[in-house]
């Protein structure tokens, strides 16, 4: 079958989006890791061993520990959204693997309904931007747009799962084709096209937006440093120059 213009367009869009995502995030990670942290600034009480820090980071990543201490509403909505998103993304692996990995098959049903969790979390977070005067004050147009984008991705995806099924077999062929440079036609289903376009947009803005909190959290010196400044000397290269 010959390649339609549409397939070509989406194939190129996804190559571009992937390239920008990988290069962009890779560059940010490079910048973060290259920038020294000249002083010991863990927010104390902090772990006094490396393994303690790994545990602290794990609690932040999986349980959102600080957020839990801070605000139960944001915690519950934020956690619903992120956990839902995780399951949904994991479920999507079935479009990129052949044969589909065992655990991906296992979570299929959860992944499907996790989209409700994800969308409910997003709606909750968005509601706060209108209802809480302090959060309304700090919200910028881009904060609203980002929520709108995520929500639109979620809703368009859910419509395909629950209302108007798209041609999954061809879609999978298209996805695998992208990966192995053996391009296959993309089904011209409007919902699918919208969904994919929004996902590509998200991938493109990721490295230049606040979505950088995802790599950023690993580099936060207040969370990832060991509390041992009396026991060992911590010196950044530029600071060491001052002793010369």
């Amino acid at each position: 079958m010959g390649m339609s213009g549409l397939t070509l367009l989406y194939a190129l869009l996804f190559y571009l989006a992937t390239l920008l995502l990988v290069v962009g995030v890779g560059y940010r990670i490079y910048v973060y890791s290259r920038t020294p942290a000249p002083l010991k600034i863990p927010t104390t009480p902090a772990p006094i061993t490396r393994s303690g820090v790994v545990m602290r980071m794990a609690r932040e990543l999986f349980l959102f520990e600080s957020l839990f201490k801070s605000n139960k509403w944001i915690w519950i909505f934020g956690w619903m959204f992120h956990f839902g998103l995780f399951l949904v993304l994991a479920r999507h692996l079935r479009y990129f693997t052949q044969p589909v990995w065992g655990w991906v098959v296992l979570i299929q049903p959860f992944g499907k309904y996790a989209s409700f969790l994800m969308v409910a979390g997003l709606l909750g977070l968005w509601a706060r931007r209108f209802l809480v005067d302090r959060v309304r004050y700090i919200s910028t147009p881009s904060d609203h747009l980002m929520l709108a984008l995520l929500l639109a991705i979620g809703l368009s995806g859910m419509s395909m799962s629950f209302l108007d099924h798209t041609d999954i077999i061809s879609l999978k062929a298209f996805a695998l084709g992208l990966m192995y440079f053996d391009w296959q036609p993309l089904p011209a289903d409007p919902l699918l096209l919208v969904h994919l376009f929004l996902v590509a947009s998200l991938m493109i803005v990721f490295p230049i937006s606040k979505l950088l909190h995802a790599p950023g959290v690993f580099f936060s010196p207040t969370r990832n440093q060991v509390d041992n400044p009396r026991e060992s000397r911590h010196l950044a290269p530029w600071a060491a120059q001052l002793e010369k």
Binding site: V31, T44, I48, V132, I138, R230, S232
Partner: protein, 510 residues
């Protein structure tokens, strides 16, 4: 006390989150440093043509030197979790005192000059040009932050507004806009040796006065030695301990502890200041210069141990930064730091907090405390922000909360903690930290103290608390000044070592 020119918040005994009142604190500005003060610590005297670009360049330079700044400016998702965590927001209702909004003052400029969306679509992402208007906001609101780190406890990414405030102050200084209070003191400490500008001879006089007082009081010849070569301990304490009330009472406490335990100790006229305002002002170089005096004094006097008196930010600098800045600590593999570390006795933590030292002596039975001597006091303890969230005591996480409390309980019978959520890592700053302890910011100080004052009111009303125990010179000065605005008696403020001083048995007494 003159009638205040602003409304003092009413105390309720608990903390309420106010509705935002934009612009409530807009006009409040700390006095600016004059050219002489600025130039004395190596900054331009005033704003000059082209300062905007210079400020942006300075930001770019700092982004390369501080990972905290780079990551924190990128990572914030505007979730709002920190919005109700700052005592200045709680006390003033000004939304620019919400930690995230305070950060945004710098983040907006960062986005404009250092990110693609900010360059292309400034409105969309809330990016702003560096203008005089923006700078005015910076100056106002970066001097309404005490760098207390409470917000960083609650942020899911640990974003520490204190780091942003410090960077902003450094950028402002570098284009010639500095704060009079902090920068004047930074000049003094480097020229004279302490923040008060008290020269050596005056200090010796003061100390011999204390010797007479204590002897008259107790009949025991407790010494206050200074510049004694070969002493075991060098005590570095905030200079307020030499002249201010109730600070002096704690200094007397330290002297009694060393006396009773038979430890030889000394102060240093060259390093007669534990405080390090370089922290507040955000300059690594200035902070290092100030810390260098302690290294010099320790090497010169040949001491084996370095002990720090009751001072919050000083303890953060000592505990967390001294090893980095000047090698006061352990575990160095470079020559520079080893020069000092070889001299120090590493069977003790270096540096040690005076509370660590005293409690250890109590536990070993080297000093004896008579709790009943403090029976007229019903005590509560205010965790100082810098100690709580920027340092540690002892060898377990959270030792900074346990050790002072154990020491209070060893010195007195009546103790009540304030409400959870206002103590330990969740403690509220006194309202006067971070370079805000100046009369020109009295409105900020009084309002910023309201969360603490509310928690205090609760234990005063319900448990009859009549003594607020502190381990910070700034807290002591701040509370004696602002608590009367809330109807508390300033004499209820004192140091933990004031309690020790009352309870300690000097031997000759029995």
């Amino acid at each position: 006390m003159a009638a205040p020119e602003f409304e003092v918040p009413k105390l309720k005994g608990f903390i309420e989150i106010p509705q935002i009142r934009p612009g409530a604190m807009q006009g409040v500005k700390s006095f600016e440093a004059n050219e002489k003060i600025q130039q004395a610590i190596g900054y331009p005297g005033k704003l000059e043509e082209g300062w905007e670009q210079k400020a942006v360049n300075k930001m770019g330079e700092m982004l390369k030197k501080y990972r905290s700044l780079q990551v924190f400016l990128d990572a914030c998702v505007h979730c709002g979790a920190c919005t109700d965590k700052c005592h200045y927001y709680l006390g003033t209702s000004d939304p620019k005192n919400m930690p995230v909004a305070r950060q945004d003052l710098m983040r907006q400029v960062y986005r404009r000059y250092f990110t693609l969306p900010g360059k292309l679509f400034p409105k969309l992402v809330g990016a702003r040009d560096m203008t005089k208007e923006v700078l005015d906001d910076w100056y106002s609101y970066y001097h309404q932050c005490s760098e207390c780190r409470r917000c960083s406890v609650y942020c899911p990414y640990g974003i520490d507004t204190a780091e942003i405030t410090m960077a902003a102050r450094e950028v402002m200084d570098s284009v010639g806009l500095g704060q009079k209070y902090t920068n004047e003191i930074l000049g003094k400490v480097q020229r004279i040796g302490n923040n008060l500008g008290m020269p050596g001879p005056a200090l010796e006089d003061t100390l011999s006065g204390f010797e007479e007082d204590v002897e008259a009081d107790t009949g025991v010849a407790v010494k206050f030695p200074i510049d004694v070569k070969g002493a075991e301990v060098l005590l570095v304490t905030p200079s307020a301990d030499f002249f201010a009330e109730p600070h002096v009472e704690s200094l007397i406490g330290y002297a009694k502890v060393f006396h009773a335990a038979g430890i030889s100790w000394t102060l240093s006229s060259h390093a007669s200041e534990a405080g390090n305002f370089g922290l507040f002002q955000g300059s690594y170089e200035n902070m290092r210069n100030v810390a260098m005096r302690i290294r010099d004094a320790a090497l010169e006097l040949g001491v084996k141990r370095i002990v720090v008196g009751e001072c919050g930010h000083a303890w953060r600098v000592a505990y967390s930064f001294w090893n980095t800045l000047t090698g006061v600590g352990a575990g160095a593999d470079d020559k520079y730091a080893q020069m000092l570390q070889k001299q120090l006795d590493h069977s003790y933590p270096q540096p040690a907090h005076i509370c660590e030292v005293t409690l250890d002596l109590v536990k070993r039975g080297a000093i004896v405390l008579d709790k009943e001597a403090n029976d007229d006091r019903i005590i509560t303890f205010h965790d100082s922000c810098n100690v709580s969230r920027g340092s540690r005591m002892g060898n377990i996480p959270g030792g900074q909360f346990i050790i002072p409390r154990e020491l209070i309980r060893a010195s007195a019978n009546h103790f009540h903690d304030m409400a959870p959520g206002t103590t330990h890592e969740a403690t509220f700053c006194c309202g006067g930290g971070g370079g805000l302890l100046t009369d020109d910011l009295m409105e900020v100080r009084v309002k910023g103290a309201s969360p603490r004052a509310n928690a205090l009111k609760d234990v005063v009303d319900n448990h009859g608390v009549n003594f607020l125990a502190l381990i910070c010179a700034i807290c002591k000065s701040q509370f004696t000044k602002v608590l009367p605005y809330y109807g508390f008696n300033m004499s209820m403020v004192g140091g933990v070592h004031q309690l020790v001083s009352t309870a300690i048995q000097l031997g000759a007494k029995q």
